[in-house]
């Protein structure tokens, strides 16, 4: 087993500081959130993307500022990979001044420039199709990218959207973060067949990526994104990931075995092992940055919102 992991570790390609730094920034951001919750300093709920940080970092490297991104409940990484504004996001989650949506939307409902997240699973896919159709007409070459989880494939709206996207040739890139679980339910208990098969059934191009290497993921995604942009057609890119943390907070009922497997699938220890110096340097940088960021946001006054 350890042999196998080391194999994979060795397989990691050299990573740019910018990418690894961003992955670690998101990691520290999410960890900070869980700490704040534990200390009772955060209200409401949150879903961290621990273990999945590398996906949006890989994706965002391929996005144009004019592309739209649709995100879901597990959206901090999606946001931070695209917009390097952790202060604004933490302020949003904590309802403090400088919040990206004035504290109204919170963790699950963020709209900033062309990034939009919503908390109702599946709902944003048809919306993304509409946005993609507008982009195709007005700024051909731009796309709508929608992140969804494997569990979200239970929702009928996903299929209504895929059908229309393919029929009308909407430039839509669906990024599926397949972490093999939905809240507490293993994918085997909530998804029959496969995501590959489902996409194929709608005539939609699909590609599955198994790697945790941010470069590999980006490299495999690049031609897919190019197809979306140039051929005006939807693509489903499914990325195998592991959820290294709880669904929300303190609600992880997986067995020790499952937890170990998830931990082994996490990119974090692999990068730590593969690039020890670079990792240590960037990790310390990001740790310190996020710590300062948290301190900064914590002393801010409450956000203000004028009810319309």
């Amino acid at each position: 087993m350890i042999g196998a992991i080391q194999e994979r570790v060795r397989a990691l390609t050299p990573v740019a500081d910018a990418d690894l730094g961003r992955m670690l920034r998101i990691r520290h951001f999410e960890r900070a959130l869980l700490r704040l919750f534990e200390r009772g300093q955060l209200n409401g709920t949150t879903h961290t993307c621990l273990g999945q940080e590398h996906v949006p970092v890989a994706v965002s490297g391929l996005l144009d500022p004019d592309d739209y991104v649709f995100s879901n409940h597990r959206g901090h990484g999606h946001f931070l990979a695209r917009h390097d504004e952790p202060h604004a996001l933490l302020a949003e989650i904590m309802g403090r001044a400088g919040a990206v949506c004035n504290g109204v939307g919170g963790s699950q409902h963020v709209y900033h420039e062309r990034f939009l997240s919503t908390g109702v699973q599946g709902e944003s896919l048809p919306v993304a199709v509409g946005v993609a159709l507008r982009l195709k007409r007005v700024t051909p070459g731009r796309l709508a990218c929608a992140y969804i989880g494997d569990g979200t494939w239970g929702e009928g709206s996903v299929y209504e959207a895929l059908n229309m996207a393919q029929l009308w040739r909407a430039p839509l890139l669906v990024v599926v973060e397949h972490n093999r679980i939905a809240q507490s339910t293993p994918t085997t208990a909530q998804l029959s067949g496969s995501i590959a098969g489902r996409a194929a059934g709608f005539g939609v191009l699909h590609h599955r990526i198994e790697s945790v290497d941010v470069n590999v993921i980006r490299a495999e995604l690049a031609p897919l994104a190019a197809v979306v942009r140039s051929e005006f057609r939807p693509v489903v890119a499914e990325i195998a990931v592991h959820r290294a943390g709880p669904h929300s907070k303190g609600d992880d009922t997986r067995t020790p075995e499952e937890l170990r497997e998830a931990a082994e699938g996490d990119w974090h220890p692999r990068y730590a092992e593969a690039f020890p110096e670079q990792f240590a340097r960037l990790d310390e940088e990001q740790r310190a940055f996020i710590a300062r960021m948290v301190d900064d946001v914590l002393i801010r006054p409450a956000s203000e919102w004028e009810r319309p």
């Binding site: 949506c101 109204v104 048809p126 509409g130 959207a161 229309m164």
Partner: protein
């Protein structure tokens, strides 16, 4: 001109005037032109901006919201308003919420058109008037087509507010004539005041009763008013708002203050009705002048049967309104 053609012309005008306008719906392109022919000719004239969709009511409302979010203006036809239930989540949890839940105003110029109502024998799942279920969703505005209001102006108003809107269109009203130049028929006249049509008998005497009703009730309200005037010498004024929710009674407050009796009529089934909402708004204002609570007329608390003789028993008829006024 019939209401259906008038609405069709309004859609043509809208598409002509603004290249950002898109129309989506099931079977709306030519030669079919929609189940009620409201979209006839649109696709021939405006091509790819008029799109026949798969059977996906939730999905197409989502697509419309996406277009609107990104800068277009979208009109989505739900073939039978009953199926708007399939788009309830998109309207409640996405389109309307997005206008405010991101902490700032986000425009979502989206109109969802719902052919509505019975009296055509289409049966329980194709005859409903679901207005009441959409009332009170923050950020969602409800309108209803009437023979008095100009459809083009109405659609323009809906887009101008930049909120998602649902437009209810009575299916029988489609076949009726529009009223113009203040004339309804030999007996009745009308004027428009701040989004309301005020319909009164020639001579404009102070009314004994004020009737409030969405546009789809017009035919039956007028018939009741005629009977009441001729048979009972009771003068009624009919008030028809273009926007059902949020309702702004200010422009007709003067008319209402004078009324001893107010009746609200609507097509939905009894219970949790639009009329109850109208009463909530008006009772505090009019408490002193009212002789009793506002009277509510609606369909029975029942599904809508298919057979004409059974359907008639359930739905609001002119006589239902007449009896409420006389009660």
């Amino acid at each position: 001109m019939r209401v259906a053609e008038h609405l069709n012309e309004a859609l043509h005008a809208l598409l002509d005037a603004d290249p950002a306008v898109h129309v989506l719906g099931e079977d709306i392109v030519d030669p079919y032109g929609g189940a009620f022919k409201i979209t006839k000719g649109l696709s021939t004239k405006h091509g790819s901006r008029v799109i026949s969709t798969p059977l996906s009511e939730g999905g197409i409302v989502g697509v419309g919201a996406g277009l609107a979010l990104a800068g277009d203006r979208a009109i989505v036809e739900i073939m039978f308003g009953d199926f708007a239930a399939l788009a309830f989540d998109q309207l409640l949890n996405f389109a309307s919420k997005s206008t405010t839940m991101y902490g700032r105003r986000v425009p979502i110029p989206l109109i969802v058109r719902c052919p509505t109502g019975g009296r055509r024998g289409y049966g329980p799942t194709h005859s409903q008037s679901l207005q009441k279920h959409f009332i009170g969703i923050p950020g969602l505005d409800l309108y209803e087509l009437s023979p008095f209001h100009d459809a083009h102006a109405l659609l323009a108003t809906m887009f101008a507010r930049q909120n998602p809107c649902v437009l209810f269109e009575d299916k029988v009203l489609y076949t009726r004539r529009i009223c113009r130049d203040g004339v309804v028929d030999d007996l009745f006249r009308f004027e428009l005041v701040g989004g309301w049509a005020r319909v009164y008998a020639d001579g404009d005497l102070p009314p004994d009763c004020v009737l409030i009703a969405p546009g789809g009730l017009t035919d039956r309200a007028l018939e009741a008013m005629r009977d009441l005037l001729i048979d009972h010498e009771i003068t009624c004024v009919l008030l028809v708002p273009e926007r059902l929710y949020p309702l702004d009674p200010a422009p007709v407050m003067q008319v209402l203050r004078g009324a001893g009796t107010i009746v609200v009529a609507e097509d939905g089934s009894a219970g949790g009705t639009w009329g109850a909402e109208v009463s909530r708004l008006l009772h505090p204002e009019l408490w002193a002048s009212l002789s009793g609570p506002i009277r509510l007329v609606s369909a029975a608390d029942s599904i809508i049967p298919t057979a004409a003789h059974l359907e008639r028993e359930v739905l609001v008829q002119a006589d239902t309104i007449r009896r409420a006024v006389l009660a």
